[in-house]
Symmetry: D2
Subunit: 298 residues, 4 copies
């Protein structure tokens, strides 16, 4: 009997991911949130719309959540009509958002009482990866549960990496984002410094792209900054939240993170100075303002 997929959280990332599931022939049920349009678009592709969370979780053998934070996931699991109260024994709950590992482990334990498996399966690759089905998916949880839902995950992502037990998917996601966002924060502080110290912006980006300090993202981010393309693919307010989760993880283990702490500070400044709704590359504006220069193409 084929799996019946429930999909909760059809925002900027979740909607195209659910669409890929429908297009690849999965039986998908979703639920409308604030605005009706995203659910209607999925319905047009062939998805069902459930009248309530309780009915969605009661009807589905695999429930996927793509929600903003642990708070919303905890509500979907522990709240009224949620997975714990109304979910099906024998089903699998998959949290594809960026949650707190300690919360993930707690939820997995609670769901186990009702014979519901839980996987954490956070994603990386941005809205483009979500649309094109090329996401990297980090998975924490039992190997058997992953084997069972692997075809479902492969409909949404290209690379599935099993990290270990419950919560390890969320841990690696936080490390990945700390790496990626700290690199962004470094660029944001160094580029205006380079301009103040006499470098021509375009050549500076080319020079960095040719050096040992280059990252996967330097030419891309650098060229967006040069062209002043700051519309949000990944908002500063969300990046700030991810870095805060990484700080909390380090605090939980009483470990120092001098570099990631610096990046967290920079995003906190950006958020406090009114850039919260812009893309992470707009972090450079904080440092441009202090330096009194702009990093842009001639």
């Amino acid at each position: 009997m084929p799996e019946r997929i429930g999909f909760i959280g059809i925002g900027r990332m979740g909607q195209p991911m659910a669409a890929n599931l429908v297009r690849k022939g999965f039986d998908v049920t979703t639920i409308a949130h604030r605005r009706p349009e995203p659910a209607q678009a999925l319905e047009a592709l062939g998805a069902r719309i459930a009248p309530s969370l309780a009915s969605l979780v009661a009807d589905c053998s695999v429930v996927i959540a793509c929600l903003p934070s642990s708070t919303e996931v905890e509500t979907a699991v522990l709240g009224p009509g949620g997975m714990l109260e109304a979910g099906r024994p024998g089903s699998v709950f998959i949290d594809m958002g960026t949650s707190r590992p300690a919360s993930t482990r707690m939820l997995a334990e609670r769901l186990r009482e009702r014979d519901i498996a839980m996987l954490d399966a956070p994603i990386t690759g941005g809205t483009r990866g979500a649309r094109e089905g090329t996401l990297t998916i980090y998975v924490g949880g039992a190997p058997d549960d992953l084997a069972r839902v692997r075809p479902v995950l492969e409909a949404m992502g290209q690379t599935i990496v099993h990290m270990g037990g419950s919560g390890t998917g969320h841990v690696i996601k936080l490390l990945n984002n700390a790496l990626s966002l700290s690199s962004m924060a470094l660029l944001a502080e160094l580029l205006p410094l380079g301009v103040r110290a006499g470098l021509e912006p375009q050549r500076m980006i080319e020079g960095l792209a040719a050096g040992t300090g280059a990252t996967n993202q330097i030419p891309g981010r650098g060229s967006r900054i040069l062209k002043r393309e700051f519309e949000a693919a990944f908002q500063i307010v969300l990046a700030h939240k991810d870095l805060r989760l990484a700080q909390e993880l380090a605090q939980e283990h009483n470990l120092p993170t001098p570099v990631a702490a610096g990046a967290y500070l920079s995003f906190t400044l950006a958020r406090g100075l009114g850039l919260e709704g812009e893309d992470t590359v707009a972090l450079v504006k904080v440092f441009e303002r202090i330096a009194g220069v702009e990093v842009k193409s001639p």
Copy 2:
């Protein structure tokens, strides 16, 4: 008339670079420093050995310095028998080390008085790049002077990037190293955190290499850490010096660098805790010790 090349500073990087010049047919003169062996090895390949700095600079039309810091470069230019006192008018002085941009501009100005051109041409690519002639060379100075010595530089490096006026080569080098070393510092603090939070080391490195936070160096550095390969290719004490120069550059311009400052702190700790002679990847040991775990292959 072909250029006559003088090469000062034949250490871990300079020696293989000079050897490449000799092998590619350039007329190279060098000078022995502490130990006679590096100069003798070059002599065996066909280089000359000058009896003194004064005679080297007096005889050569292109003088290349590959020295540890601005202090040594200033001595080679301003000191007794140095470039300013004994160099040939019409010659070119090339500083291929990682120097302070303000010192570089000062030296270029002083040399101009005696009709000697100066280029800053720092390198990136490590000892392997030096041996194989695949370095990236960042150049600051006048386009005509670069055109004149370009064949010389191409004998040592694969990519020559002209950044702008005097000192800009050294500026981009500091930015590149700040990027590269801050990435190293991030890895050093995040990997032990990942292990403490339950990740298996090998899978953690694979996971990060598959994510958006990956850099040019993640699989390489990660695998060296997993195999505990800490012999020095780039010593912590030198990396620390480069990060200090980047901090000084930011201080000179009154700009904040929260992330690079965190990396500078980490390298300062490593240096103070006895790791100064090990490779930069050994920075992880500081955080392993605090975390009470090791990031190594099973």
Copy 3:
């Protein structure tokens, strides 16, 4: 009818505070924890010992908790036999520890349902202040509730400062400790620097005590360092916890704290490098080790 005081948490601070209450004629009931001696000593002074938490809270009109963290307070309030389950309607619960303000507000709200008032009344002044009854007590909660228990608090402290509504006592306590511990962290990093830069330790302390940077604690802390008196009055592991709470408060409000974050990092290092059980003044050892000097009397 006089108040009947229940006192939970008779450790290094709580025991002498409870003793002061007994000596000043209050009717005090306590409960033994791990070791029987502290409770027996209070019994010898005239206190009662309750057989269980439930019986203590059921019998007392004012219950004082002097516990290590919010976790223990939450257990005492929400756990089996705790204040919520077994406490007397009309009674007052006073948390004199250093707790998380958000937890405090949550507990106050829960207790209100059962007509139990809650005050947060954290203390500052150390074990000496506890013994001598000279503590400063910061109070958060309703003015009427404070008025009712003021005589009780005055038996333990000299200065009672009402800060505002529920949780505000804990907020000011976190700010106070962030100030005090960051000052300690500053001393710890600056004194070894001064010695390395050529200052004689004793004169350095005298010089700082005479300057504008002096704090309430400079001659005291400085002289303990000079005499190498590191036995714990306030352990590094507890100071580290307080600074973490201050960091969490800032994170909750998305605010940057560059200085307190630096102090938190230093205490994290000290904790990770094996100094967790020593007094906060022992933080200097981290920096002495890096500097290769000792700050001590000739």
Copy 4:
């Protein structure tokens, strides 16, 4: 034969200090700088005005400099008509500004060649201390030289603290300012946090003044912030410079300073965000802006 005092640098601090010397009967010669008024005011009290630096240093047995930074002091000593060229053998040069210790030691050594003694004698106590002659003066240099000029220093300051050899006065001054300014930076970041977390500003200051975290300056600085008194007694741009010198001292010795580095960052932000001309207490505005609150009296 009484000393003849030359006084260079009659700005906000130097002018009232020189005036105290004149009033107490010393024979004082000064020199006009940008504006004629400060020198004219001293002349009206009884000072002479020298036509040039060279004539001032040639005529005086004690030359006092109260200049903004090492750059100006180096010019006064090493520049044309300066102390080295035109000063009197057997005279004493006193640098009362906040200079780089390494520069101080270098200048002392150079002057010794010409049999001129040098003392570093930086001051703390603000413009009010300068007017009222109640400054604390930290002295580095030989005891005999200090003994000789002690009466001169006592005319300007109340407390004279001999720290050790040349440069030690400047070292302790940097430590003192790092302590004082980092305390200011802490207040600046914590007060808006307290307000956001629910504290009433006035009571918050009173609470902190009663606690263990209080400093010499908390009630004073706190009350200036509450009353929004930000006119400059000690400008942010100068405070920023002093913290940079402390950072440079730590860098010179390869030592970490996590707390002072945080304070340096905060002042760098303040300077870059347009507050450079305001008093150090205005640093709070950076954090108020991010927090969206003001710390002011009701």
